[in-house]
Amino acid sequence: MSVIKELLKNLFTKPITLKYPQERKPPAERFRGRVYVDYDKCIGCGLCARDCPASAIEMVVIEPEKGIRGRRPLIDLSRCIFCGQCELSCPRKAIKFIHEYELATSDKKSLLLIPPKPKGSQKP
């Protein structure tokens, strides 16, 4: 009958459920949410693309004149499984997982992390 005691006790305590859109639980420090790439640090080695289990990373050429060093990762978040292997593989610590986790969208294109064009390369 100890359940009944707890039942009556719970009538007068606050419910544990979070009213989600109004209340949000902060994620833990090590939480892996959306991927963030620091393209300035990136050297274009392509280790992240090689190790990605979900083939979410593709190396695209943005500076053809630099050869293999001119590639940068293009990350498709809709394929990403948030395992964090790219963060481990990156020799320059250019990839980080930030706490943002509400990634639902109706526009699939917004889930592509496209590397920016380098400043000098824009042709007239």
């Binding site: 833990a28 090590r30 499984i81 948030f82």
Partner: protein, 396 residues
């Protein structure tokens, strides 16, 4: 009274995953159970051959979401054996802690499901509320609540610092109190007793003959636990008891799991106290030398076996997984014979089925109690034969 056939599944509220049973009923009593597996076959083993060892760790993790720590630990150990390296001692302790937290989480989840199958929604809500505490701890350690991605070939990814350890101790002592409270409810509540005692009997003889594993077999009085029989991670340094009950019913399997939660809590506390300092990871080469390795762990549901063969490259040549649920299906059919319709969900739940991890390239003929694996060629030959015979029927 004539026999009444009732289908259960592939979709049924009592089953969280698709499996189909055909029950032959005499009134409300089951006289025969015939399972049909394979609804969630995903081709994981074949997929593993096309990926590198590093990527396969994440694939193994996704075979089962509930025992994800068990799958990665087992796979990583097999690969480490092939490489001939030993992870640092601290890494072994962290693996053990995550593994046991995973077990607590899995058993609590299961206990909640059992309560739900019995129609005891309140207990289900309470247990799942408390399970959140374990998930919080796991999130703090690994950065995720379900797919931890903490086991790496050659060690672990994250360390456990003092802040996390302190939080963990607090959560564990809360959980110990709660688990004891739930044990009291399960032992004393008249309705739970009516539904669990002497229901789903699996005799010790049958449990051994049908090769049942994990808490299913320990509830039938068989002392079989990989953690004790073949210690892995830091288990040879951490003391624990193998929980065995011998009443052979659903109640025994429930109490085995509840006691295992308490046992795991003590194990984690001991491991936290005696954790050696040092590195948590060694660097490993990407290419794995040729050879083969078998690794076993005691997953929450029972013995999990990984067989990995490498031909000396970045990718494995063959990965074979034997999950505990598959081993328990013949035992489950035995338990179901002679049960009431109302007891079916409880008995099915009592083996803690995890069907998605079970369905791979394996063929089970339960009536002959025979399990075999087909290669692709054999499978093709069989399919050709099958179609030819069907065409023959049509022509006639």
């Amino acid at each position: 009274m004539s026999l009444f056939e009732i289908p259960l599944g592939p979709q049924h509220p009592a089953l969280k995953e698709p499996i189909r049973f055909i029950f032959k009923l005499d009134g409300e009593i089951v006289v025969g159970a015939e399972p049909r597996l394979g609804y969630v076959h995903r081709g994981v083993e074949k997929l593993a051959e096309t990926r590198t060892f590093i990527q396969d760790v994440y694939l193994a993790e996704r075979i089962c979401g509930i025992c994800s720590a068990a799958h990665t630990t087992c796979f990583v150990q097999a690969v480490e054996e092939l490489l001939g390296i030993e992870p640092p001692p601290r890494a072994k302790y962290i693996r053990l802690i995550v593994f046991e937290l995973n077990r607590i989480q899995s058993h609590l989840l299961w206990l909640g499901i059992l309560a739900y199958e019995m129609g005891f929604d309140t207990l289900f809500m309470y247990i799942w509320r408390d399970r959140e505490r374990v998930l919080d701890v796991l999130e703090m350690i690994t950065g995720n609540r379900v797919l931890y991605a903490i086991n790496q070939i050659g060690g672990v990814r994250h360390d456990i610092d003092d802040k996390i350890a302190a939080y963990m101790r607090k959560a564990l002592s809360y959980l110990r109190e709660r688990t004891k409270y739930y044990k009291g409810i399960v032992e004393r509540d008249p309705t739970i007793n009516a539904r669990a005692v002497e229901v789903g009997i699996l005799k010790k003889r049958d449990a051994i003959a049908l090769c049942a594993v994990g808490p299913t077999t320990r509830g039938s009085g068989v002392k079989f636990d990989i953690r004790a029989d073949d210690p892995y991670a830091a288990l040879d340094e951490v003391p624990f008891n193998v929980v065995v009950y011998d009443t052979e019913d659903v109640m025994a399997r429930t109490l085995v799991r509840i006691d295992e939660i308490l046992e795991s809590i003590s194990m984690i506390e001991y491991a936290l106290d005696h954790m050696p300092s040092g590195d948590i990871r060694v660097r490993v080469p990407r290419v794995v030398p040729a050879g083969e390795a078998v690794s076993r762990v005691e997953a929450p549901r029972g013995e999990l076996v990984y067989y990995v063969r490498s031909a000396g490259g970045e990718k494995p040549e063959r990965v074979k997984v034997r999950t505990p649920t598959l081993a328990n299906i013949p035992a489950l059919c035995k338990m179901l014979e002679g049960a009431y319709v109302a007891d079916i969900p409880v008995i099915v739940a009592s083996i803690d089925p995890c069907l998605a991890c079970m369905d791979r390239a394996i063929f089970v003929d339960v009536s002959k109690e025979k399990v075999w694996v087909w290669s692709e060629r054999e499978l093709r030959r069989y399919s050709l034969r099958w179609y030819r015979s069907r065409e023959g029927v049509r022509r006639r």
